[in-house]
Symmetry: C2
Subunit: 73 residues, 2 copies
DNA sequence: AGTATTTTTATCATTTATGATAACTAGCCA
DNA sequence: TGGCTAGTTATCATAAATGATAAAAATACT
C-alpha cells in the first residue's frame, strides 16, 4: 500500500463518514456537487487522488470546512 | 475570477509564504518534493488545481501539516 | 557594469482526474 | 415474484494535472 493510496482511502472514508453522519444519500451528495453518483462512489472507495477544488466542493455541500476533510492526514 | 482560481491562488500564496518563511529556495523545495522547479513555480503562481497528494508532499517537505496548506480556504 | 542565482513563463508529452453511461449487487417492501 | 432505492464496479472519452525541457526575466552579489 502506497502513501498515496493510504491518503486516498483515508479521505474517502472521511467523506463517507461525514455524509452518513448527516444522513445524506451518496447520490444526493453527488447531485449537490454536480458529480455523477458513480464518481462519488469511486472517490469514497479511495480510487481517486482528488484535486483540492473537488474536495472543496464536497466540503461545501457537506456543510463542513475543507480542513475537516484533511485533518490529521 | 472563479472560485477555482481563487482557491488555486490562495494555496499558491500559502506555499510561497511558508517556503519563504523558512528560507527555502523554490528550487530546493521542488527538488525535495521531486518536482521540477518550473512546476513548483506554476503551482505557487496559482496555475494548477493540485491534487491532495501533491499538497501532502509539499506539506511534508515544508515540515508543516497538510491542514496548514488549506486552513481557512 | 557584469555574473551567478533564483524565479517565472512557455511549451510539449504523458499520466490521471473527472465526466459520462451502463450494468450489476444488495436490501427492502408490497 | 417483481419493482424500487442505494450503492458499486467497469469502461470509455475528455479535460487537466503533472513531468520534462528550454529560455526569459528578475534578483542578488562582487
Amino acid at each position: 500500500m502506497t502513501d498515496k493510496q493510504d491518503l486516498q482511502i483515508a479521505i474517502g472514508k472521511r467523506v463517507k463518514e461525514l455524509r452518513e453522519s448527516k444522513n445524506i444519500a451518496q447520490q444526493d451528495l453527488a447531485a449537490a456537487c454536480n458529480f455523477e453518483k458513480s464518481n462519488m462512489a469511486r472517490l469514497e472507495a479511495g480510487n481517486t487522488n482528488a484535486t483540492i477544488y473537488t474536495l472543496k466542493i464536497i466540503a461545501k455541500n457537506l456543510k463542513v470546512e475543507l480542513v475537516d476533510l484533511v485533518k490529521d492526514l
